[in-house]
């Protein structure tokens, strides 16, 4: 007797409220791979210098 295949494409809602594993979202293995990359991608996060932020705030106050 042939075994039935367990579906793996049940929609799952991710943190952004998007449906996963549907035609309008990434597939599970793609999300898992992206999750693997995330720690490395997070290490690239940078901030602008304080001087730039101060300049922006000063510009705003000058208007």
């Amino acid at each position: 007797m042939m075994e039935t295949i367990t579906p793996t494409l049940n929609p799952v809602v991710d943190s952004n409220g998007e449906l996963r594993n549907t035609g309008e979202a990434l597939l599970r293995h793609e999300i898992e791979f992206l999750d693997e990359l995330k720690p490395a991608l997070d290490q690239l996060i940078k901030n602008p210098s304080a001087a730039v932020v101060e300049h922006i705030l000063a510009f705003s106050k000058s208007l």
Binding site: E24, L37, A40, Q43, P48, L57
Partner: protein, 194 residues
Amino acid sequence: MSFQEKTDQELVHLYIQGNEASLSELINRHQSRIYTSIYLLVKDEYLAEDIFQDTFIKVIRTLKAGKYNEEGKFLPWVLRIGHNLVIDHFRKEKRNPTITNSDGFDIFDVLGIHDESMEEKMVKQQTHDDLKKLIHYLPSEQKEVLIMRHYGELSFKDIAELTNVSINTALGRMRYALNNLRKMMTNKEQLLKA
């Protein structure tokens, strides 16, 4: 309620009413995502700071002119302005943006293991070097979607609107980016020798 507890929309309202401190909170809240998204596309800290500043100057002028569309979210709106300024820059420069950095910061430092052996260090270093090169192979539109999705935490609907493509196209570009990265990581020896 403190500024930190207010929504972006509430802060925008306060700013429009003349509360300058609310702008400071908005910048503080989103500067990392906005700056990193710009920086990874232009690959230059000084240029990224210029574009970041120009982005907020446009934001400020739009808000103070009462032209802000409250139906949209604040962050995607600011990212769209920044994205357009990056495009303007490359149109002027006529060169292609890349995701990798030039200031020595290593995307794969996070993969480091404490108390690793010399061999492990060498393997790790080689992996870092290889992957940095592999990312260069991603087409710019795929890198762009990866950046917007990860750093901007944008939905594919937002990315589609930002890049003037359909949701399916934005999603497809992300899939290609991930699949290409995975394939390149698998076949990196042949690829890097070519």
